[in-house]
């Protein structure tokens, strides 16, 4: 089963949380069939990054009412709707919608979110940096669960 972890974000402040998780995972031993990528432009490029995978795990920064550094598993339906499709707003949710419309959405899409703190520039804020081990463990758990679901053919 081809599982792809994709770190989504930009390299600015806490928006880099997903990228940081992907970069650390890429240096670690991973189960066979697992690849790691980074997507700094989560519009149409994200569709291409998902191509060929049976399952994807997206890791991205989130902004909600949770404390900074909160690590959560999300369903794609939980991502809030942005403005109607336009380039300023072609984000993860729209890219997944477009991939689905084009018949290019992998069978399984898991999202791990890391709640952003107040760092808008430079390095990760400390709550987000402290949350990276938990985020990595969460991604690994999702990979394991996905692989065993794949092995069972579910």
């Amino acid at each position: 089963m081809r599982i792809r972890v994709i770190g989504v974000g930009t390299r600015r402040g806490d928006d880099a949380a997903g990228i940081a998780v992907a970069e650390i995972l890429a240096r670690q031993a991973l189960p066979a069939g697992v690849t790691v990528r980074i997507c700094e432009r989560p519009g149409a490029d994200l569709i291409d990054e998902m191509d060929g995978a049976d399952a994807v795990v997206l890791v991205d920064g989130t902004r909600s009412d949770h404390p900074a550094g909160t690590v959560r598993r999300l369903r794609s339906g939980e991502i809030a709707a942005g403005p109607a499709l336009s380039t300023h707003a072609l984000g993860v949710r729209e890219a997944l919608g477009l991939a689905d419309a084009l018949g290019r959405l992998p069978a399984r899409v898991e999202i791990v979110g890391i709640e952003a703190g107040d760092a808008r520039e430079g390095d990760l804020s400390s709550p987000v940096r402290d949350a990276l081990p938990l985020a990595i463990a969460t991604v690994r758990a999702v990979i394991e669960e996905t692989a065993s679901a794949g092995a069972r053919g579910t």
Partner: protein
């Protein structure tokens, strides 16, 4: 007994940024029309003052996520004129390649995701993707190529940073250019197929007698330089912009309205460019125009979508020519010394002419800057267009009226964020006798 009807579009869909349209009819007479741009003012002109002139390409690029290259190009050419910087011919050519990338990326976005739903009677780009998968995939491939062209010279496709006074921070290698050339050769056929697909859609006809304005260059399709010309005899250097055009404030909009002095509203953008520069189109772009010639007999606003498709082909050919004839410059950027001066620049953004005037002080810091974006120039034209168009929608339902107005506005591909100095629609149809007006 006069019936009063108001049509309101509270938030215009599928345009860049936030705007609204209010129409009020008394009987069949249009008594009020306001294209409201309510994005807050963005103060770029104010906060650029006092910054180093060399910072302007990066600062102004942030005005727009769709057309940052246009802002970089108008900014850098204005600063270069102010400082007397002569750029090498290969740098000039690479800047055309860079701009061509943005035209491809921006035009494809508009054609497939913003405009196509109007012709197909679909709600949005997702629905288009479900029903016309091959065409949407094709447009995504072309957009990606445009983004690659931007990234090649801009360092990245989002908020590119590669431009500097005198040239670029880094110039591409021959290997990078020849790899791009291979993709471009394939892309031209894709762009032609896509335009043919659009040509078969029920795109309405909206012919109008209007003044068309764009750059014109003696030997090439205009992008970075040329004189500002119109179909009614205007022919000026960019430095004469203020003598020919005036910007005025209107209470209902944070965007300034731009008009010809002693004249009226005018159109900038792909339709104006194609109509004013058809003799400069590449052979394949000219062939595409010829296959659609009856749509280009006059200014048919709805044919703007075809003009974009023709310009995608043109942009691909521009890029291939640049690569074919490329000889590396002696340096990525010409040397320069910041100094006092005044520079004017008009370049052709995907949405139309973008004028920038810069004045620098003795150490090259920005003393004054003016930025006149294409949507700001088209805004008065859009209002005039709707004024003529509106009586025709009176018999329609509120929903259909709103859709028709929005589609008409989309012909201009307005970028509200850029012009904020921009759209939501309200159409008031009130029956005065019922006391609701």
């Amino acid at each position: 007994m006069t019936e009063k009807r108001t049509i309101e579009v509270g938030a215009l869909a599928r345009v860049e940024g936030e705007g609204a349209l209010h129409l009020t009819f008394e009987g069949d007479r249009l008594t009020d029309l306001r294209l409201q741009i309510y994005e807050p003012p963005r103060m770029f002109e104010s906060f650029s003052r006092g910054r180093r002139g060399a910072e302007l390409p990066d600062l102004l690029a942030r005005i727009c996520g769709i057309c940052p290259v246009a802002y970089q190009m108008s900014a850098v050419h204005a600063v270069e004129e102010a400082w007397g910087v002569a750029i090498e011919p290969p740098i000039r050519a690479l800047r055309r390649l860079y701009y061509a990338g943005e035209w491809i990326e921006s035009h494809l976005l508009h054609m497939m995701f913003l405009a196509a739903p109007d012709y197909l009677g679909l709600d949005d780009g997702f629905a288009v993707a479900r029903e016309h998968r091959a065409e949407v995939e094709r447009s995504l491939r072309l957009r990606k190529l445009g983004n690659r062209m931007i990234a090649l010279l801009g360092g990245r496709s989002v908020n590119p940073v590669g431009v500097c006074v005198g040239g670029f921070h880094r110039i591409p290698t021959r290997a990078e250019l020849s790899e791009l050339a291979d993709e471009l050769r394939h892309a031209r056929g894709e762009a032609e197929s896509l335009l043919h697909w659009f040509a078969r859609l029920p795109v309405p006809r909206r012919p109008q007698e209007i003044e068309l304005v764009s750059l014109r260059h003696g030997s090439e399709y205009p992008m970075n330089e040329g004189r500002i010309v119109s179909n009614r005899g205007l022919d000026i250097a960019p430095a004469g912009f203020d003598d020919a055009f005036e910007e005025t404030q209107v209470p209902h909009s944070t965007a300034l309205h731009c008009r010809l002095r002693g004249g009226g509203s005018y159109l900038v953008g792909p339709l104006a460019r194609v109509l004013l520069n058809r003799e400069q189109l590449s052979p394949s772009a000219a062939a595409a125009l010829s296959s659609l010639r009856e749509r280009f007999a006059g200014a048919d606003l709805a044919a703007s979508v075809f003009a974009r498709g023709i310009e995608v082909i043109e942009a691909i050919d521009v890029a291939m020519d640049v690569i074919d004839e490329y000889e590396p410059p002696s340096a990525p950027a010409a040397p320069h010394t910041p100094r006092a001066g005044t520079g004017h620049s008009a370049t052709e953004a995907p949405r139309g002419t973008l004028y920038v005037k810069v004045e620098t002080d003795d150490v090259g810091d920005v003393r004054q800057i003016r930025i006149v974006p294409p949507t700001s120039q088209n805004q008065a034209r859009i209002e005039d267009d709707l004024r003529a168009f509106a009586p025709g929608i009176l018999s329609l339902s509120q929903d259909d009226a709103r859709r028709r107005c929005e589609a008409a506005i989309r012909d201009y591909d307005p970028c509200i964020s850029c012009s904020t100095h921009f759209l939501t629609l309200t159409i008031a149809r009130r029956d005065a006798s019922c006391g609701s007006g």
